[in-house]
């Protein structure tokens, strides 16, 4: 994890609106307000903490703040947290080619907030790769876009996936389907669909990990122990334990923590060392950002222009031809930016013990409420079902 210092101008003004992830320009001004409200409400619910009827050793998270409701402090700073897009889920497999193959075989394996789709010559599953498209855009934004601007959804699919996309391919009874024939394993990758890869998860992990926990008389600091004690995220990934640990390290220091605007997950460095192209061109030239701002890209592609007369598969990585998108994912980084301020030991809020479900609590069944454009005057207590929670 490394720090990025805030610019003085940004530090001086309170944020007035959460912007769409990546700074994309799909929404009208009023729609942007709706999106901002969704994020702000989500932050507020997370600050309140999990419903006490369901959990013990839980509670409000005073060290997590909503930047729309908190003035920037003079010590505001930023921390970039970054990890490779290649999934830890497959790292236990016997050999490297196994891992690539399995990681490519299904979007279900791509659970580091980075998913990809592979295109091959003539669509031949054993053919040379012509293009690998990567996305780190969260599904919630697309659900929101689907509700507020369905035409834009179709337009974007046609632009990035296929001109043949039809509205009925994406919407069922007027409701946007994140997993659809154009956005699933074996087809394109418009945005994240793996069950763990959500913006809600990112916010929940950031908030939940602000709790400083004491277990058996000692402060918990180790990353796996933290995630198991705090019961946030998914401990089998690289990303969630790292995010939780990194945030918790700040709150142990006395900082209050939030997420930088625009809240989202973004591509970080792409550093193709050990790669060789047939014409000795720089492989970095073939990595293009397709959507999002330069500092907050949400969609990227690795593709060799046709005039080059060689394909992605003709490029080698440490002597191996690129046969799988997963080989490239190893060099793609995903990042989020945490925001810290108001460092004060008095801020440290220690919970004595690890979070536990209350056994007699009702079944945890309330689905994630999709963000709506309709304004709500007060935040609603919502139980988010963020897939496989520890």
């Amino acid at each position: 994890m490394m720090a990025v210092t805030a610019t003085p101008a940004a530090a001086g003004a309170r944020l007035t609106r959460f912007n769409p992830p990546g700074g994309v320009e799909d929404l009208t001004e009023s729609q942007k307000e709706g999106w901002s409200k969704f994020i702000s409400d989500t932050f507020d619910v997370e600050i309140e903490g999990r419903i006490p009827e369901y959990y013990v050793y839980e509670g409000p998270r005073p060290q997590f703040f909503n930047p729309l409701k908190t003035d920037p402090a003079p010590d505001r700073d930023y921390r970039v947290i970054s990890w490779p897009g290649f999934p830890k889920l497959v790292e236990d497999l016997p050999d490297v080619e196994n891992r690539w193959q399995i990681a490519d075989s299904s979007r279900d394996y791509q659970d580091e907030y980075c998913e990809w789709s592979v295109e091959r010559v003539n669509g031949d599953p054993k053919g040379k790769i012509t293009k690998v498209t990567f996305t780190c855009e969260g599904p919630e934004y697309w659900q929101f876009l689907g509700q507020t601007n369905p035409e834009r959804v179709v337009q974007l699919y046609r632009q990035f996936i296929s001109p043949q996309v039809q509205p009925e391919d994406l919407f069922l009874n007027g409701e946007y389907q994140p997993v659809n024939k154009w956005n699933q394993t074996g087809s394109g990758a418009m945005h994240l669909i793996q069950i763990n890869n959500t913006l809600g998860a990112e916010i929940d992990i950031a908030a939940a990990s602000t709790h400083v926990r004491r277990k058996e008389g000692r402060i918990v600091t180790e990353q796996q122990e933290l995630i198991e004690c705090g019961k946030y995220g998914n401990k089998g990934r690289n990303s969630d334990p790292l995010i939780g640990f990194s945030v918790n390290a700040q709150t142990r220091d006395g900082y209050r923590v939030s997420l930088a605007d625009p809240v989202g997950l973004y591509f970080g460095d792409f550093d193709p060392k050990g790669w060789e192209t047939p014409d000795n061109s720089d492989p970095k030239d073939y990595w293009k950002i397709l959507r999002g701002k330069p500092d907050t890209p949400v969609r990227a592609v690795f593709e060799v222009p046709k005039e080059k007369n060689f394909t992605v598969s003709d490029i080698t990585i440490l002597g191996d031809n690129i046969l799988y998108g997963a080989q490239i994912a190893k060099y793609v980084h995903i990042k989020l930016t945490a925001m810290v301020q108001q460092k004060d030991p008095k801020n440290v809020h220690i919970i004595e013990g690890c979070r536990k479900r209350v056994p007699e609590a009702a079944a945890f069944a309330a689905p994630l409420g999709a963000p709506t454009a309709a304004a709500e005057t007060t935040p609603t207590k919502r139980d988010y079902r963020f897939s496989t929670r520890v």
Binding site: W83, P94, D271
Partner: protein, 566 residues
């Protein structure tokens, strides 16, 4: 009379502070059976002339030079030292002698042609998860730093430095590797007293006179070495386990160093060291040495390459992905595959196991720790349990697998021949003297192409000419049995053997006794690793009082498997 400073065997030319007696012991053990050496070979210069002019580059290549380092001439430098560090020194009237001044000198070249581009710093400490306290103040956590310096227009990392925390010290061990783009090899340097000494280049690691001497005791094959190369990068600061300031005493000034504070933006994590630096540099050096030995479609000095396939010249360390502290009774602990078979090398030949994982249930794993009384032991410390990541064991070195892959890709060696060799004593992926007994049959050179046919023919002919293949139970016999499976059968037959073996192991370790057998085997391998120069730090492994009185489980299964197969 010139003033001579004696260095003896003290901290010279190696990554470890060996005494001469220790060196003699290591050589006598000849674990690798690689070389016969004089027992009085020093690890570095035994003397240095303190009146020798400073701010000059000297040479002392152990095994080649005797007694006192030799000042290099301009011609020597032009011929041998075309790397960024040498070029930096040549521009300076006063040589930097500390880590800090070396880094600063590089940084000052930013903006110049082929100048400084980027610095990345990595942390490793075998005791990196042991918080400091008054009780643990004296514990040696073996904290080190690795610096990777990228220069404009250079390779993945042009300069690598490994050192400890006393970055202003002129006495602290300081060793550096720098990539020479003209000679396509690393140059190894070390600072001794006020002198920078060139200790040789990567090619010296391969030649018998200089092999395994000086820096090549650690950099055995001349390339970069990162023992814990793969996820979860045990002992390293990584995205899976961070090394925090709480391992230092509150008064230790190092925590304020820019080489430690995350806010400096210099400190990176081990996953990036692996992907961005070490693996590309392994690839670079292996490619270079093959190119260097290739002439007229023939590969010369074949023994220097094939010894890395047949015997263990180097190892890495791997572990379960699970942190020991997180393991509960019902936790599934997946054990590293490469402990059981050389799955990465076999995959190069096309053999992929259908057994996806070998795991032990947490209850059995934890009980085994108690049974064998595992603990972290070093002066001032005894903590029952395992290392931070469970089940750290040696595994085949990535540089060897990478080299094998290139030999097959370039049609120097056939996949079939590689598989026939790797499948000898395959349940012992490293330290197999049975398999390495086939080294004498390696021809000195081979014609490249035709899918490695020339090497197939020559190697097989050499084995047959020995007549030992007719004796049952010899490695020659096992090799020919493998070879005689034929072109159409070997892949399926070997795959079957691997799967049968792994399935049996996987079933066996569902019991306490079965898993305890695996632990005995792991202890045997760790013990072999501990006799190598690569073993430097007592907290690398947890210490156990294993009882080897029962046969090793893997030996039993291997025998059963082979009896069924042959």
């Amino acid at each position: 009379m010139a003033s001579i400073t004696r260095f003896g065997g003290h901290r010279v030319g190696t990554a470890r502070e060996h005494t001469l007696d220790e060196i003699k012991t290591l050589r006598r053990q000849q674990l690798f059976s690689r070389f016969a050496l004089s027992e009085t070979d020093p690890m570095g210069p035994s003397e240095i002339d303190e009146s020798a002019p400073a701010n000059k580059i000297y040479r002392f290549i152990v095994g080649q030079d005797r007694n006192v380092p030799v000042q290099l001439t301009d011609q020597d430098i032009q011929q041998w030292l075309q790397d960024p560090f040498s070029k930096l020194l040549q521009k300076l009237s006063e040589f930097p002698l500390t880590l800090n001044t070396v880094i600063e000198a590089f940084e000052k070249t930013k903006g110049t042609q082929n100048g400084f581009k980027k610095l990345s710093v990595f942390h490793i400490a075998e005791g990196g998860q042991i918080p400091w306290s008054a009780e643990t103040d004296k514990v040696n956590r073996s904290f080190r730093l690795v610096f990777a310096i990228e220069m404009e227009g250079g390779v993945a990392a042009d300069v690598l430095i490994s050192t400890k925390t006393n970055n202003d010290s002129k006495d602290e061990f300081l060793q550096l590797m720098s990539w020479d783009r003209v000679n396509s090899a690393f140059n190894f340097y070390q600072r001794l007293d006020q002198y920078w000494i060139w200790s040789g280049n990567s090619f010296h690691a391969l030649e018998s006179a200089t092999r395994a001497k000086g820096p090549f005791l650690g950099h055995v094959n001349g390339g970069v070495v990162m023992k814990e190369l793969k996820i979860p990068w045990p002992h390293w600061h990584s995205m899976n386990a961070t090394i925090n300031s709480n391992i230092f005493s509150p008064t230790d000034p190092f925590v304020k160093s820019r080489f430690f504070r995350p806010e400096s933006g210099l400190v990176q994590q081990a996953q990036d060291l692996e992907t961005s630096f070490i693996r590309p540099l392994i690839h670079l050096w292996n490619s270079s040495r093959i190119a260097n030995a290739t002439k007229d479609h023939q590969l010369q000095k074949l023994d220097q390459f094939l010894r890395q396939v047949i015997e263990t010249t180097n190892v890495n360390l791997t572990s379960s992905l699970k942190a020991f502290q997180s393991i509960q009774n019902d936790t599934v602990v997946i054990l590293p595959f490469t402990f059981f078979i050389n799955s990465d090398a076999l995959a190069v030949t096309g053999i992929h196991s259908t057994v996806r994982s070998i795991s032990v249930i947490g209850k059995i794993y934890l009980e085994s720790l108690k049974f064998f009384n595992f603990s972290l032991e070093t002066e001032g410390l005894s903590i029952p349990g395992d290392t931070h990541f469970a089940f750290i064991v040696p595994e085949p070195a990535a540089e060897d697998v990478d080299l094998l892959k290139k030999l097959v890709q370039k049609e120097i060696m056939s996949a079939r021949l590689a598989a026939c060799l790797l499948m000898i004593d395959f349940t012992r992926p490293i330290f197999s003297s049975f398999r390495s007994a086939l080294k004498p049959y390696i021809p000195t050179e081979v014609i490249i192409g035709d899918h490695g046919k020339d090497l197939d023919n020559r190697f097989v002919a050499n084995v047959v000419a020995s007549n030992k293949h007719t004796t049952l139970g010899t490695p020659e016999n096992e090799f020919m049995t493998n070879w005689n499976l034929g072109e159409n059968q070997w892949l399926s037959e070997f795959s079957k053997r691997i799967d049968q073996y792994l399935s049996t192991v996987a079933d066996n370790i569902k019991t306490q006794e079965g898993y305890n057998g695996i632990v005995r085997r792991a202890e045997e391998v760790r013990s072999q690793f501990k006799s190598l120069p690569l073993y430097e730090f007592p907290l690398t492994f947890a210490t156990a009082t294993a009882s080897p009185s029962q046969p090793l489980l893997t030996t039993i299964i291997h025998k059963e498997t082979m009896t069924a197969m042959l």
